[in-house]
Symmetry: C3
Subunit: 205 residues, 3 copies
Amino acid sequence: MSFINFVDYAGTFAFAISGIRLASAKQFDWFGAYVVGLVTAIGGGTARDLLLDTTPFWMQQPSYLIITGIALFCVILFGKQLIRLNNTFFIFDAIGLGLFVVVGIERSIEAGFPFWVTIIMGMITGSVGGIIRDILINEVPLIFRKDIYALACVLGGLVFFVCTKLNAPSELTQILSAVSVILMRVIAVKYHLSLPVLKGHDDIK
Amino acid sequence: MSFINFVDYAGTFAFAISGIRLASAKQFDWFGAYVVGLVTAIGGGTARDLLLDTTPFWMQQPSYLIITGIALFCVILFGKQLIRLNNTFFIFDAIGLGLFVVVGIERSIEAGFPFWVTIIMGMITGSVGGIIRDILINEVPLIFRKDIYALACVLGGLVFFVCTKLNAPSELTQILSAVSVILMRVIAVKYHLSLPVLKGHDDIK
Amino acid sequence: MSFINFVDYAGTFAFAISGIRLASAKQFDWFGAYVVGLVTAIGGGTARDLLLDTTPFWMQQPSYLIITGIALFCVILFGKQLIRLNNTFFIFDAIGLGLFVVVGIERSIEAGFPFWVTIIMGMITGSVGGIIRDILINEVPLIFRKDIYALACVLGGLVFFVCTKLNAPSELTQILSAVSVILMRVIAVKYHLSLPVLKGHDDIK
């Protein structure tokens, strides 16, 4: 297994765990938790592939389903102990996000789209899974309110674009792009950075 | 009209009724109730067809829209009396589910996918309509918490796979697969079977 | 810029504003508000293009992203004052809706679908954006309960169909169809018309 595969699977595992843990807080049964975990892990890439009109990636090999199954098994078995690994998961999640963004950008470039579309596809790949997860558990999507999540994806896309314009080798481009996503997430969470909130206009409804 | 068509339409009718009744509990207007009923009936097949990259089935003939219209008409006219037919609807719903699963599997096999994808497509065909219904009425999807719904679809898929491996005639395969879904639903509801619930981790949010 | 383009962009702007304002009432950050505004503006056309199996329109030119950015900027800058322009936005929104319906119908005719599919595609183009917006802010979709929204889209579709059958010139057909949507919206809101509500069956759940 190559390093890139390892990171892809680790990211999938971290995304799946995040879905399963939130589902467990809502008293979902095992199967429901599995579905929520799976959707969290593959939702973004599926949305991207539908928009790009290609076969969704997880329909081409069963690894993603299996990894989600392992994630469910771990939560059932180790539940409470897992919670203490919060920081570990955050790092996985951030690394997964960085990689998902790069994969999303690569796929859209292959499909022949201009750079501004590829940046959006990177963001969609990274963040739509979490949005669907929050819809399924009937919460307002977290990423709309906290922690510079989607914006980190956009930053990764811009870094990718600049590197490409500077003719950087593609491996370097991918690494710099992913690292910028990861760094921005780590910094945002560590220093509680977030975007300004729009002032409420509750009176208009 | 062939028997398979009758069952397909009866299942559509039962799924539409389930959407319309839940919409009425939320004070939707007639049109809103119609849309929720329609989405419940065709949502799963539409998701499947988008993933398989074929034209959604309901865009090829208007029967499904008409059946949903009849379902709305029945609820408007007979409202309260319909409720006493709960068991009848449950049977329709279970039969429809069994058939939807078989149709979903058949379509994915035609599209050339391996068996584990076809099982998922059977499950998606059977259960995504109900998930979208619950999202539209702003509830946590019922199937994640109750009654072995999605798992019955998976069982039907496994029966289909085993029959195929044993070279059973395709009609027998379809019937056994659908019947296994229906039986599992009936047994689950009759004996209040359900999957274990993941222990809540409310403290982690 | 042609007149049709102006109306398209004005409609997009009005739809984006409606999403951003509702997001601000939910304390979304700037980026979250932008995404909700964008989804409100392009969600319907995207759903239509996925169903018709063509590349989503907003991936072909960046205008829609830019217009949504301008809308966000206006809400940040002028917030409270904008609210007094409610009627202006309602007119934009109604005009945008009329145009979106016509565009949706045109695209489906080009794709070779029968009239009843094109009417549904017109409705989907006009109303799915608002439905996704309401799901993202975790509310029951407004259009299911109020103001003859989706039905106005259907009326526009029927007018389009009748004009086509009567061999009316295509510009006239488009204008009459759009105007009928706009008028129906204006009348419905002005006279508080709405469809009957289905009587609640809370006892059945």
